[in-house]
C-alpha cells in the first residue's frame, strides 16, 4: 500500500492544486512560530463550548443503533424486524432487504461487499439498524430483531489460516498477497559478517479506541445531506458517502470542527455513516448514530498482529552486512494492509547494502484493519531495534554507537535512492544520549553485584517514518478585513495535534497580526477548502506552507494598494508589522488599516496552494528514544522510570503542542509494549473476549513515568517546504516499545520478543532462565 493510498482516500481521485506562485525560503528568525503558545482553541476545549460531533443536538433528532453479527463467520438467512418495528419510539428499521439499503460498500478495492452483507465475514458486521426516539428505545428494538444465521466455520488467527483445511475467508486460500523486496546480495552479505543473529518476533493486534466514539449525526434537507462526523478528514467522508449513495458531491456536506481522537481509524467514513444517512432518510428525522465502545473494538479497525523473523549480519567494526526479514500478518477479513510497511525500517533506517524482505498478508475472520499511527512501523521497530541491541552486544559495542555507525544520508528503500532533504538521526542519537546520561546510566545498570530482586535497566531505539513531508493538494484562503483582523479558512481537521494553532501562528508570523485577531474556519466541506485527511504526520508540512502562500498573496495585494496610495512602485515598498513603508524611508509608512482601497473593498482575499515537493528528495522525520525501567524479578512487573525522546521533525512550529505529541506518542507506545492486545477465542467461538477498556488495558495515569523529556532537534529543513517543518505525530510512537524491551533486557538478560511485556510472560521467562541456571 502506498503512502498516498493510506492517507488520501483509496480509489478516489484527489484533485491537484495549481503550483504556488511563491515558494519562499523558510524564515530565518521567527516571532511567533516555535514558541510555546497555548492552543488557539484551548478555551473552547476546556470550557465545554467546543461542539464535537457527538455533542450535536438538533431539533427533532432521534437515535440510531446497529445490530451486528455475533459470529466470526455466518450467513444471514432471515432477518425478522416485525416486532421491532412496532416497539415504542421506533421510527425506522433497515436491513439488507430494505431497497434503499442495498448499496455497495468497499472495504478494499480487491473485495467488494455490501452495506448489510448477508455473508458476514467477521464478528461485528452490521445486519440491521434502527432509529428511535431515545437510544434506550433503539436498544430495545435491536433486542427484538430476530436473525437466523447459518453459522459457518471460522479462522481468527493468521497462524492457523494457512493450515490445510483451514476455513477460507474468500473462497480460495487465505493468502491475500506476498510482497518481496531485494537489494544487493544477501547471502554474500552474511558470509562477510563476523556475527550473524536470527530471531523470531511477534507484535499483537492493537486497537485504536479513540476517546470519542465513531459516529455521526445525519440530517437531510430534501436532497441535501449534512453529516457531523467525528473524522480526521471531512472531504474523505464526503467523497465516500457521495459515491455509496450516488449523490452529487455538492449535496453532501460534512462538518467535523472538533473530533475526539482517531489515530488513523477515522481517516474515512464507516458503514455507520451511511447507515445514519439511510435511517435519517427513512424516518425523515435527523439521526444521531454513535457506536458503543464494544462495537469500536470489533468493526472500526486495528493495528494488525505480525509474526516476524529477522536474520542480521554485522562486522566487528559495526558495519551491517545483510538483513533478511520475513513476516506474516493480517488485516482481517478484507484486504487492508496486514503487513503494510512492516518491513520499511529494515529497508531504510540503517545503511546496509544487502537487504531482502518478504511479507505475506493473510485473511482471517476478524474486523478489517485501518491505518494505526505509523502503520507497520512500530512492529518493524520492535524487530529491528531489538536486533540492533543484540548485535551491539554480540560485537561488544554500545548500541548508540552501532546506530551512529550506520546512518545513511539517502533513502535506500525508495525508488531512485533519493537523498534525504535533511537527516537529524545523528543529532537525535547524540543529543538524546547526552540528555539521558546514557553512558552513566548504562554503566550503572551493567555494574555487577546487584543481587536484589529489583533490577534496573536502560534501553534505547531509533526510527524514521516513511514519509513526513506532506504533499499537495491543499488550498487555504485568508481574508483580511479592514480592521486588520484575519479569517483563516482551511479544510483540514485538527485531530488534537494543534493544527489550528500552528496555522494561526504561520499567518501571524507572516502578516504580523496578533493571534487574538485571527479566527479559523475549518473542516467543513460546505464552507472550507479541499484538504486530504489529517494523518500520517503530514498535516503540518502540507497545510503550513499553504497558509504561508496565502499570507504572501495577501501581502502582495496590500503592497499593490499601498503603492497606489503612496504613489510609489510596489517593488520599493516593504511590509512591516501592521504597516507598509518605502524600504528607503520607513517613516513614510501607511497603516494597513488606513489603506483606502482595503476599506472600500471590505476584504482582501489571499489564496494559497500547496506547491509540489522538491524533486528527488526524501523528506523524512527521525527520532530516538531512551528509557529506564525497574523490573521486579519476583513478580515480573516492570516500572518505567523515565523517557527521553529526541525528534528531528524539522522546525518546531509550536513547542507546547509539539511536546504534547511527544508524550502522547510515548504513552501510546507504552500501551503497545506493556498491556494492549486483542484476545480472540481462537478455538471455540472465534469472538473477541476483551472488547472494553476493563479487559483491554490502555495506559492509565498510574502507568506512565513522570519524567518524560521531549528534546526537539530544532533545525528547519530548508529543502522540504517553505516553513521548514516535517511531520511529528508518527515518529513519536515508533521506537517506544523496543526501547522498553531493550531496557528490560538490560535489566534481566531476557529478550522479550513478543508483546506484551506482561508480568505473566516475564515471570515465565525469568523462571525458565533460573532453571537453565
Amino acid at each position: 500500500m502506498s503512502k498516498k493510498e493510506i492517507y488520501a482516500v483509496k480509489g478516489l481521485s484527489v484533485p491537484e492544486t495549481p503550483a504556488s506562485a511563491q515558494e519562499p525560503k523558510p524564515w530565518k528568525q521567527t516571532q511567533m512560530v516555535g514558541k510555546g503558545i497555548p492552543r488557539v482553541d484551548a478555551y473552547e476545549r476546556v470550557s465545554g463550548t467546543a461542539v464535537y460531533p457527538s455533542d450535536v443536538l438538533l431539533p427533532d433528532m432521534i437515535y440510531g443503533a446497529v445490530l451486528r453479527c455475533p459470529h466470526p463467520h455466518a450467513q444471514v438467512k432471515k432477518v425478522d424486524v416485525e416486532a421491532a418495528s412496532k416497539m415504542p419510539g421506533v421510527r425506522a428499521v433497515i436491513t439488507g432487504d430494505t431497497p434503499e439499503a442495498r448499496v455497495e460498500w468497499t472495504y478494499s478495492k480487491e473485495a467488494r461487499s455490501s452495506l448489510f452483507d448477508p455473508h458476514c465475514r467477521f464478528e461485528g458486521e452490521p445486519v440491521a439498524a434502527v432509529a428511535a426516539e431515545t437510544p434506550y428505545q433503539a436498544e430495545d428494538a435491536l433486542r427484538a430483531i430476530r436473525v437466523e444465521y447459518d453459522v459457518l466455520p471460522f479462522v481468527v488467527d493468521e497462524r492457523d489460516a494457512l493450515k490445510e483445511n483451514a476455513p477460507s475467508v474468500h473462497g480460495a486460500g487465505n493468502v491475500l498477497k506476498t510482497e518481496k523486496y531485494e537489494r544487493g546480495q544477501v547471502d554474500r552479505g552474511f558470509r562477510e559478517a563476523d556475527v550473524v543473529l536470527e530471531e523470531n518476533y511477534r507484535t499483537e493486534c492493537q486497537l485504536h479506541t479513540p476517546m470519542e466514539l465513531h459516529g455521526c449525526v445525519a440530517k437531510w434537507d430534501g436532497d441535501r445531506l449534512t453529516l457531523w462526523e467525528s473524522t480526521q478528514g471531512v472531504y474523505a467522508v464526503q467523497a465516500e458517502v457521495a459515491e455509496v449513495l450516488k449523490l452529487p458531491l455538492s449535496k453532501v456536506r460534512v462538518v467535523g470542527h472538533y473530533m475526539g481522537g482517531g489515530f488513523g481509524s477515522k481517516l474515512k467514513a464507516g458503514k455507520y455513516t451511511v447507515i445514519a444517512a439511510l435511517l435519517a432518510k427513512k424516518s425523515a428525522r435527523p439521526v444521531k448514530l454513535f457506536l458503543t465502545r464494544e462495537e469500536t473494538y470489533l468493526a472500526v479497525g486495528n493495528r494488525p498482529p505480525n509474526n516476524m523473523r529477522l536474520k542480521a549480519g554485522v562486522k566487528k567494526d559495526g558495519t551491517l552486512t545483510a538483513l533478511d526479514f520475513s513476516c506474516t500478518g493480517t488485516g482481517g477479513a478484507y484486504p487492508s494492509g496486514g503487513t503494510s510497511l512492516v518491513d520499511w525500517l529494515v529497508r531504510d533506517l540503517y545503511k546496509c547494502p544487502n537487504v531482502r524482505t518478504e511479507c505475506t498478508d493473510i485473511a482471517i475472520h476478524t474486523g478489517p484493519a485501518r491505518p494505526f499511527r505509523a502503520p507497520g512501523h512500530p512492529q518493524g521497530a520492535w524487530v529491528l531495534e531489538q536486533m540492533m541491541d543484540a548485535l551491539a552486544e554480540a560485537i561488544k559495542m554500545d548500541p548508540v554507537e552501532l546506530r551512529l555507525k550506520n546512518i545513511p544520508n539517502f533513502s535506500q528503500g525508495k525508488e531512485g535512492n533519493p537523498p534525504y532533504s535533511s537527516t537529524g538521526l545523528k543529532q537525535c542519537l547524540e543529543e538524546g544520549a547526552k540528555a539521558f546520561q546514557w553512558k552513566v546510566a548504562r554503566s550503572k545498570a551493567l555494574a555487577p553485584g546487584e543481587t536484589g530482586r529489583i533490577k534496573r535497566g536502560v534501553g534505547m531505539a531509533s526510527c524514521l517514518w516513511v514519509v513526513g513531508g506532506g504533499w499537495p493538494p491543499s488550498t487555504v484562503i485568508l481574508k483580511l478585513f479592514p480592521d486588520g483582523s484575519l479569517n483563516l479558512n482551511m479544510g483540514a481537521s485538527d485531530i488534537g495535534t494543534g493544527t489550528k494553532t500552528v496555522m494561526a501562528l504561520v499567518a501571524a508570523e507572516e502578516l504580523g497580526i496578533p493571534l487574538g485577531k485571527i479566527e479559523i474556519e475549518h473542516a467543513d466541506t460546505g464552507t472550507t477548502q479541499y484538504a486530504t485527511p489529517s494523518g500520517g504526520s503530514k498535516t503540518v508540512p502540507t497545510e503550513a506552507p499553504t497558509v504561508r502562500a496565502a499570507a504572501i498573496s495577501v501581502k502582495q495585494q496590500l503592497l499593490e494598494m499601498a503603492s497606489k496610495e503612496l504613489k510609489l512602485d510596489a517593488a520599493s515598498l516593504v511590509f512591516q508589522e501592521g504597516s507598509i513603508a518605502p524600504a528607503k524611508d520607513p517613516s513614510k509608512s501607511v497603516k494597513i488599516t488606513d489603506l483606502s482601497e482595503l476599506k472600500k473593498r471590505g476584504v482582501v482575499v489571499g489564496i494559497g496552494y500547496r506547491g509540489p515537493n522538491p524533486e528527488n528528495k526524501a523528506i523524512i522525520p527521525f527520532a530516538a528514544q531512551f528509557c529506564e525501567v525497574e523490573v521486579n524479578t519476583k513478580t515480573g512487573e516492570v516500572k518505567i522510570l523515565r523517557f527521553v525522546s529526541t525528534n528531528d521533525s524539522g522546525r518546531v512550529m509550536d513547542r507546547l503542542t509539539y511536546d504534547s505529541q511527544v508524550i502522547g506518542g510515548i504513552t501510546m507506545g507504552i500501551g503497545l509494549a506493556m498491556t494492549e492486545y486483542r484476545v480472540l477465542d481462537r478455538d471455540q467461538t472465534g469472538r473477541m473476549l476483551n472488547r472494553n477498556w476493563h479487559d483491554y488495558k490502555l495506559p492509565t495515569a498510574l502507568d506512565v513515568p513522570l519524567e518524560m523529556t521531549s528534546l526537539p532537534v530544532d533545525r528547519e529543513d530548508s529543502q522540504a517546504n517553505s516553513v521548514g517543518a516535517k511531520g511529528l505525530g508518527e515518529p513519536v510512537t515508533i521506537p517506544t516499545a523496543p526501547a522498553i524491551a531493550n531496557a528490560v533486557y538490560n535489566a534481566t538478560g531476557i529478550r522479550i520478543t513478543e508483546t506484551p511485556i506482561s508480568p505473566e510472560r516475564l515471570c515465565r521467562l525469568l523462571a525458565e532462565k533460573r532453571k537453565e541456571g
Binding site: P38, G48, M211, L213, G496, T657, I663, N692, T700, L702
Partner: protein, 211 residues
Amino acid sequence: MTQKHEPGECRCSRGLTRRGFLSTVGAGVAVASAAGKLAAQPAASQGADVLPSAEMTPITLNINGRTHRLLVEPRWSLLFVLRERLGLTGTKVGCERGECGACTVLMDDLPRYACMTLAVEAQGSEITTLEGLMRGEELGGVQQAFVEEDAFQCGYCTPGQIMAVEGLLRAHPEPSQEEIQMGLSGNLCRCGAYVHIFKAAGRAAQLKRGQ
C-alpha cells in the same frame, strides 16, 4: 460512600421499588447502584408501586446551582439526561460502562461517573458539570491550568479530567504527586496527555490558592 442527604429525600424511592429497577435495567447498572444509595435504603422502598420501565417519572435535579424539573424514564442515566436532554455537552461519553471517566461530574463535591448514575438517583445531590466551573464566560482555575500546561490533545477526555482534578482539589487542596495520580487514575486519556495533566493539577492547586 458518603452521601449528605437524608434517606427520605430520595424521590426515586417513592416512585420505584428496587425490584422495579432491577427488572428494567441491566445487571451492570444494578451492581453499580447496589453500592450506592439504592442499596442503602431498602426500607424506604417497601410497599411502593412498581413502575414499568418506560413510564416517565418526574424528577428534580440540581445542576450547577440551577433546579431542573424533568420527566425521565427510570432507566435513563444522568449522562444521557445531561447531554441529550439538557444540552450540557461539556460532559462527554466514552464508554457508558464506567471505564473511562469521560463522563465525570461532581455530586456533592465527589467525582462520579455520570454514565453509572441513574438520573433518578442523582436527585438531592448538588451536581456540578464542566459548565459549572466557569465564572460567567471566564475559565475556572482548573480549566485555566489545563490551558497553560497544554494538558490535552483532542480534548475529549478533558472535561472528565478537569472534573476529577476539581474533585481532588476540593478534598485535598495541596495534593501530593501520588494523590494527583490516584485522583486521575479513573480517567483514561487515549491521546496520552497524563504527564501534562499532572502538571496542570499542580498548577490548578496553585491557582486555587491564589498564587
